[in-house]
């Protein structure tokens, strides 16, 4: 994929980094790379693509389990490594999750471990967002009731691929970098 391979931090080490099994010494080697290996992103994609059981092309990894992938029908969707798809990446994927809300000290202490150091339920609730496919916990939020689910990240993919990586995506469009999260509740409202 890349013109010249930078082997100072080889793909095998990227794999260990992704798995979380890299030794501290090798991790420090990565930290000390000056300059950084500029082909890291391509090595990373290669490792990630090998780890998932599906063929859609990964454009970007956005959390432990989630990826923005290119679909054959010119769509860019969020997809879990289990294969579950969350739809258009411009809509907050949290609105396609299963959501559990912990509202009492008892429920929160279950996952915080120490009652005195947990949350005050009169201020915030603890939301857990699960993948509907594999039930992995994808995100947590400690926010007041009624707080809109937070869009953690909306990448500007076309700028990234064209200007920063020098390899434009074939389906570039000016409207890709738009937050369309509010389309989901508007649709739900219409559906009733």
């Amino acid at each position: 994929m890349e013109e010249k391979r930078d082997d100072r931090f080889p793909t095998e080490n990227v794999k260990l980094l992704v798995e979380g099994t890299i030794s501290w010494e090798d991790a420090k080697k990565a930290m000390r790379l000056r300059p950084k290996d500029k082909d890291r992103f391509w090595k990373y994609l290669e490792v990630l693509q090998q780890r998932v059981p599906w063929k859609d092309k990964i454009l970007l990894r956005i959390s432990d389990h989630l990826y923005i992938v290119a679909k054959p029908d010119a769509k860019r969707v969020v997809k879990c490594d289990c294969g579950h798809e969350f739809g258009d990446y411009r809509v907050n994927w949290k609105l396609s999750c299963r959501i559990r809300v912990r509202r009492t000290v008892e429920e929160m202490t279950e996952v915080f471990g120490i009652e005195e150091a947990t949350l005050d339920p009169s201020l915030v609730e603890l939301r857990e967002y699960y993948c509907p496919g594999c039930l992995a916990q994808l995100a947590t939020e400690a926010v007041p009731v009624g707080y809109p689910p937070i869009v953690e990240m909306l990448p500007d993919l076309d700028t990234f691929y064209r200007e920063w990586l020098g390899k434009p995506l074939p389906d570039e469009r000016p409207d890709w970098f738009q937050n369309r999260t509010l389309e989901a509740p508007a649709r739900w409202m219409e559906e009733g």
């Binding site: 279950e110 471990g113 150091a117 005050d120 915030v124 869009v151 920063w164």
Partner: protein, 726 residues
């Protein structure tokens, strides 16, 4: 004829610096950095001479101080700045302050200091007023102009965090102050000395307006002595390299490092929009409000950020939706915001050759007027602005961690969440001696949060000070003999949980001994029941709250007399109280700051902080790691079971088949107890329509919904009628 190069006035030089950057996009308009490019080795030698001068000044000067925060915990900094105020190099220590100093020079230029009181060789200036660039009044700056012949060629600066600011509460981290008039000793830019010495009258101010005159006078002398020493060293460098080289070189440092920062972002990040949120409580109602009517309320602070990594590599943060300014202690100004938040940049991408102000040329903020960090009331209280501005340190760290993660640089991810407990003490000893003190043990050294590939480490980092150091309990006890440390330890289960967990937070436990006529403690904590951070990372949980625990009238002296074991942190105090091993007349527990609390002999004061966030789904934690946790007592078997889905036998070994089954059960429970997003949305919408909010949440929404951007998002998310009001 002005004092700057080519006869420009300071005001003209500052205006030119700002104008030329806007016009060209280069710091000081330097499209070319000729000295760097023509002889990089010479330039490096020049730059390192300046850094060494700053470090030398620090190491010499700190020995003048008696304040443990300076002497041991590293809460000080010495720096060299351009005539316009940009920091060029600095010692180690309170690194963020390099960002605040330009605001002070901007201020004295605008105030016309060049004409009156005049800026001449040997002058010593002071500022700790937030309106003029100091982050808050505990951070005191002494600065000395450097003249070469008749030309101002730079400034040397010494600053540190003092023990007591003479405010309503003892210490320098007050959490009660409705205005600048209750903040304590606040001095706008002032000429406090000439001929490289401070005036005698200046000592009287420390003596009469603060509680800790000896510490503060010595700190002041330390700052001046260090600034003067640095001044002299810099002039030697000027002689060695020539003034033309120096004048051009210090500007090229800024421009070169601006380019490095931009390049680093473009190499490691992904452009786009990222969000961050922090919230916390400020409680005044019925406490402060009894005396100050305008402050008779509580505030649930809303601190959102929409952070953009722009196509050109710059970073812009939009704070629209931020809580409004008010009559409390935690308003702040842009200088404080830039100062403290830069500490989120150093570990992520701004680790360049020197500490410098280059960040100001590649980061920008939208801070709406009338909001918390852009107060329109010039008398706004700012004694603990750092409590609020500091929350945005982690905007940089967490948003950039996600960005670096996406790009594949997992080793550069360093997400953290807010932490820190510090206390002030004031008392009268048996013989009538009035004294005051404070401690920052739990501010100057924390655990780190988890990363995508490893657990965080205990007692390893301090976000406000890159040189983390908890200090020495013995020295603290020497200076504060009323507070005997009977515990200083890592607390089991006290971390943010996840596939990788945060390092264990630290707890201290102190027994109050013979306080004499009176003793009060005022404790500042970074959390307040809302958790450390609103967002966990990748399915991990945010860190656990700070805890401040008082047990009054205990039988601890009897326990100690009998030579029995005793509780060493707040969790143990709670357990011992429950099972009757410890007795207490009353107990007060805060998930963050406390008001002024009177203490008596035999009381216990236990504080804990630094328990920071996890990364990833906890039930994906590797069994080997979980086993180690249980083996070393870092995680209790009960917590391993309920949080991590790990069962261990009585030797602490993981029962693999049973744990697999337990994790499968946890997934089933997740399915049972969760709702499809649309059903959840319907439920939550009903609550929003019914305004089913607690009083604090309601007042937070009332305030924030006046900002168009937040209103648009809130109304759109819940599809509310246009006339919806909270």
């Amino acid at each position: 004829m002005g004092i700057c190069y080519q006869g420009k006035t300071l005001k003209e030089a500052v205006a030119e610096k700002e104008g030329i950057f806007k016009e060209t996009g280069y710091a000081y308009g330097l499209k070319e950095i000729k000295l760097v490019e023509s002889d990089p080795a010479k330039f490096m030698r020049f730059q390192m001479r300046l850094v060494a001068s700053c470090i030398g000044a620090r190491e010499m000067a700190k020995l003048i101080s008696a304040n443990p925060m300076s002497l041991i915990q590293g809460e000080l900094l010495f720096l060299l700045a351009t005539p316009e105020g940009d920091c060029v190099s600095a010692s180690y220590g309170l690194a963020g302050h390099v960002q605040a100093f330009p605001f002070m020079i901007q201020a004295i230029a605008k105030l016309g200091f060049e004409e009156d009181p005049g800026i001449t060789a040997g002058d010593v200036f002071f500022n700790n007023d937030a309106l003029y660039g100091a982050p808050h009044n505990a951070d005191c700056y002494n600065f000395v102009p450097i003249f070469y012949k008749d030309e101002l060629i730079g400034w040397t600066v010494g600053l540190n965090h003092i023990v007591d600011v003479g405010g309503l509460q003892p210490g320098g981290l007050g959490t009660i102050s409705p205005s600048v008039f209750t903040d304590g000793f606040t001095v706008p830019p002032t000429k406090i000395g000439a001929n490289f010495k401070t005036h005698k009258w200046w000592d009287l101010h420390w003596k009469r307006r603060t509680r800790t005159e000896v510490f503060n006078i010595l700190d002041d002398k330390m700052r001046t002595a260090g600034s003067v020493a640095l001044h002299n060293r810099v002039l030697e460098v000027v002689e060695e390299f020539g003034v033309d080289y120096f004048r051009q070189g210090i500007k090229e440092i800024i421009e070169r490092e601006r380019r490095v920062l931009i390049e680093r972002i473009k190499t490691m990040a992904v452009p786009g929009m990222y969000n961050y949120l922090h919230m916390n409580m400020v409680n005044y109602k019925g406490i402060v409000g009894k005396l100050f009517a305008a402050s008779n309320r509580d505030w649930f602070m809303h601190q959102p950020a929409e952070m953009h990594i722009l196509p050109d590599g710059r970073i812009h943060a939009d704070l629209e939706g931020l809580t409004s300014e008010d009559e409390f202690h935690c308003n702040g100004y842009e200088s404080a915001l830039r100062m403290l938040t830069s500490l989120g940049c150093w570990p992520m991408f701004a680790y360049t050759q020197t500490l410098n102000t280059a960040l100001q040329y590649m980061t920008s903020w939208n801070i709406p007027p009338g909001s918390l960090f852009n107060p329109q009331n010039p008398f706004a209280g700012t004694v603990m602005s750092l409590m609020q501005v500091g929350k945005y340190i982690w905007m940089y760290q967490n948003c950039l961690s996600l960005s670096f993660f996406s790009r594949g640089y997992l080793e550069e991810c360093f997400p953290q969440d807010p932490a820190g407990v510090g206390y002030g003490l004031a008392g009268v000893m048996k013989d009538g001696f009035r004294w005051a003190g404070g401690d920052m043990t739990l501010i100057t050294c924390w655990a780190s949060g988890a990363t995508p590939f490893k657990d965080g480490d205990p007692a390893s980092v301090c976000s406000p000070n890159p040189a983390a150091d908890q200090g020495e309990a013995e020295l603290a006890e020497f200076l504060q003999p009323t507070n005997l440390n009977i515990g200083r330890t890592l607390i089991p289960n006290y971390c943010g949980h996840g596939k990788f967990r945060g390092g264990l937070g630290t707890g201290i436990c102190q027994m109050i001994m013979e306080p004499g006529q009176s003793l009060i403690a005022a404790v500042m904590g970074a959390t307040s029941g809302q958790g450390r951070c609103a967002l966990g990372m990748s399915g991990g949980y945010p860190g656990l709250s700070d805890v401040v625990y008082f047990a009054h009238d205990t039988n601890i002296r009897d326990i100690l007399k009998e030579g029995k074991p005793y509780p060493t942190h707040f969790v143990e105090i709670g357990q011992w109280l429950k099972d009757g091993r410890l007795k207490a007349g009353s107990v007060e527990v805060f998930r963050g700051s406390s008001p002024n609390v009177p203490l008596k002999d035999g009381d216990l004061m236990a504080c804990a902080s630094g328990a920071r966030m996890g990364w990833g789904d906890p039930i994906e934690r590797r069994y080997g790691l979980a086993e180690k946790d249980v083996h070393y007592g870092w995680i209790t078997p009960q917590a391993a079971k309920s949080i991590y889905g790990v069962l261990t036998d009585n030797k602490g070994q993981v029962k693999v088949a049973e744990s697999d089954a337990l994790r499968a059960d946890i997934r089933k429970v997740r399915k049972e107890k969760s709702l499809d997003a649309k059903d959840w949305w319907k439920q939550e919408r009903e609550k929003v329509l019914a305004k089913d909010f607690s009083e604090n949440v309601r007042s937070m929404y009332t305030d924030c919904l006046k900002w168009p951007k937040f209103r648009r998002e809130f109304m759109g998310m819940w599809q509310l009628p246009e006339d919806y009001k909270v």
